[in-house]
């Protein structure tokens, strides 16, 4: 019984830590965007490179603003997804061992996040038909791999806890 208790506590701790890691990655996403906008050279140019050069200056300016707003909304959405998954994981972890209903819907969102990050990983090094390896790409790649590990650990720990609780019943 004490072994089971120790196991449950171990996986509970894993779930909470993974939840915190996912939250921190969400914050990191926002910081990354802010840094590239403030100090990155090519962001605005990359956004407007496909615009028709014959467009009037006012229209180009308005289109640039709209493009920036859409980009920011996308990253805020990503942050909110991280917040939802991380916060829900922490709540789920804290509710283990207590007689409360445990909501596992966040695992679906976590699975979607896992797949999207996994699919986009190669694009750090091969994008638009050409290879690009730089120190920032490598750092971002490692950060995303860490995120994948955190999500995987979250899944495994949730599965283990369910298994132990079923065996206990």
């Amino acid at each position: 019984m004490s072994d089971t208790g120790a196991e449950i506590r171990r996986y509970k701790s894993n779930i909470i830590i993974s939840g915190r890691a996912i939250l921190i990655f969400g914050v990191w996403t926002i910081i990354k965007v802010a840094m590239s906008l403030l100090w990155g050279d090519d962001v605005i140019q990359a956004l407007t490179s496909d615009f028709d050069p014959n467009l009037p200056e006012e229209i180009r300016f308005l289109a640039t603003i709209v493009a920036l707003i859409v980009l920011l909304l996308i990253f805020i959405l990503m942050f909110l997804i991280h917040l939802y998954i991380g916060g829900s994981a922490i709540r789920y972890g804290n509710s283990i061992g207590k007689p409360v209903k445990k909501k596992k819907g966040f695992l679906v969102a976590a699975a979607l996040l896992f797949c999207s990050v996994l699919v986009l990983l190669p694009s750090y090094f091969y994008f638009g038909g050409k290879w690009q390896v730089s120190d920032t790409n490598i750092a971002s790649f490692i950060a995303d791999v860490t995120l994948l590990i955190a999500i995987a650990d979250l899944f495994i720990s949730c599965w283990k806890v369910s298994k132990i609780e079923k065996e206990a019943v």
Binding site: S2, E7, R9
Partner: protein
């Protein structure tokens, strides 16, 4: 443990073991002096600094935590306050570096305890007092190590106190990091050291992460130590302190010569049982310090007044003595006992191929371990 047990309870144990009032006073004074014999104190009385049996908070703040500093810290704390239980303990899938610290975990009834008590045999009463301090602390400081180590001494915030008067429920303990505020027993607010993620931080020395809980005789609590792999440890202080008292009486009788041997896991229940109810009522009383209760008990036993502990009591004698006669003073004898205890424990740790407490001059001179 605190002054209530190291000073007054040790007096009671010594008297029950058959020592006179004066002898009991010397023993209990020496036991309490272990908690005050810092380098600051030794500098003041111009005594050898390597005889230190404790380190003040201010000294620890300035202490080095490189390899030399850690060895110095470990030699003091492992020798006098966190005597290792099993220097040859085994644990699967752990590195040598981890095991060196794991093997320093303190606990009662270890081989080193037997060596500590036997070391004081046929020695002055100051040595006896030191041995009693070490013995008592093996019960209070169980499961912590006398070396700064996050992986051994860290805990999380899941501390729960058993409230027997509330139907045996476990009530969560709240820790705060306010060293100037006294622990609030009524509301379950206690002070502990801050979490430091550095393995060798001073905050991870001994039972700092558990605050003063191990030193309160009344409390029964459960928590998860870092070395425990998520197992919950239940610490029953009233029961442990009672055993510590019984073992002290047994050890003191051996040191007095009334008993032929000192064995592990043995307690003088015969002498202690008549006073069990009284002792347990003191131990279980919910209070920060139990000085008054133990003092009253001791004075009832002996019929003599137990003077309060006075750190200045023997200083003048030592400072005014000639060099050649310093060793015969009270503090001189205490220094000899402290050096003997520290040397013995350091030797034993070194013999177990563990260099966390440093090298042993004795063994190197004999050409033993390299």
């Amino acid at each position: 443990m605190q002054e209530d047990f190291h000073y007054y309870a040790t007096y009671c144990a010594a008297y029950l073991a058959g020592y006179t009032h004066e002898e009991s006073m010397e023993i209990c004074y020496s036991a309490q002096l272990v908690d005050h014999f810092s380098r600051t104190f030794l500098s003041k009385i111009k005594a050898p600094l390597n005889a230190a049996t404790t380190q003040l908070q201010l000294e620890l703040m300035d202490a080095r935590t490189d390899i030399i500093g850690l060895q110095d810290i470990t030699r003091i704390w492992a020798s006098f306050h966190f005597l290792p239980r099993d220097l040859y303990a085994e644990k699967q899938k752990r590195t040598k570096r981890y095991m060196n610290k794991y093997r320093l975990i303190c606990g009662p009834n270890g081989d080193l305890l037997v060596k500590t008590v036997k070391l004081a045999k046929d020695k002055p009463l100051q040595h006896v007092g030191i041995a009693m301090h070490v013995l008592a602390d093996t019960w209070a400081h169980t499961y912590f190590a006398g070396t700064p180590s996050l992986v051994i001494n860290n805990t999380d915030d899941s501390f729960y106190e058993l409230k027997e008067d509330e139907g045996d429920t476990w009530k969560k303990i709240t820790f705060r990091h306010n060293p100037t505020a006294a622990d609030d027993l009524e509301n379950g607010l206690y002070t502990n050291s801050l979490h430091q993620s550095s393995e060798k931080s001073i905050m991870n020395l001994g039972h700092g992460r558990a605050g003063h809980l191990p030193d309160y005789s009344f409390i029964k609590y459960k928590y998860m130590p870092a070395w425990g792999e998520y197992e919950e440890i239940i610490k029953d202080n009233p029961s442990d302190y009672y055993k510590a008292f019984g073992q002290m009486v047994y050890a003191l009788k051996y040191l007095k010569g009334d008993s032929e041997s000192f064995e592990k896991n043995t307690y003088d229940t015969k002498s202690v049982v008549p006073y069990q109810q009284r002792i347990m009522s003191i131990l279980r009383k919910r209070q920060l310090v139990a000085n008054a209760d133990w003092k009253a008990f001791g004075e009832e036993l002996s019929g003599c007044e137990i003077k309060d502990f006075d750190l200045d009591k023997y200083q003048k004698e030592y400072m005014e003595a000639f060099e050649l006669t310093k060793a015969d003073t009270f503090i001189g004898k205490f220094i000899a006992g402290a050096l003997a205890q520290k040397g013995m424990v350091t030797n034993e740790i070194y013999k177990s191929k563990n260099t966390v407490a440093g090298f042993s001059k004795l063994l190197n001179l004999e050409g033993g371990l390299t």
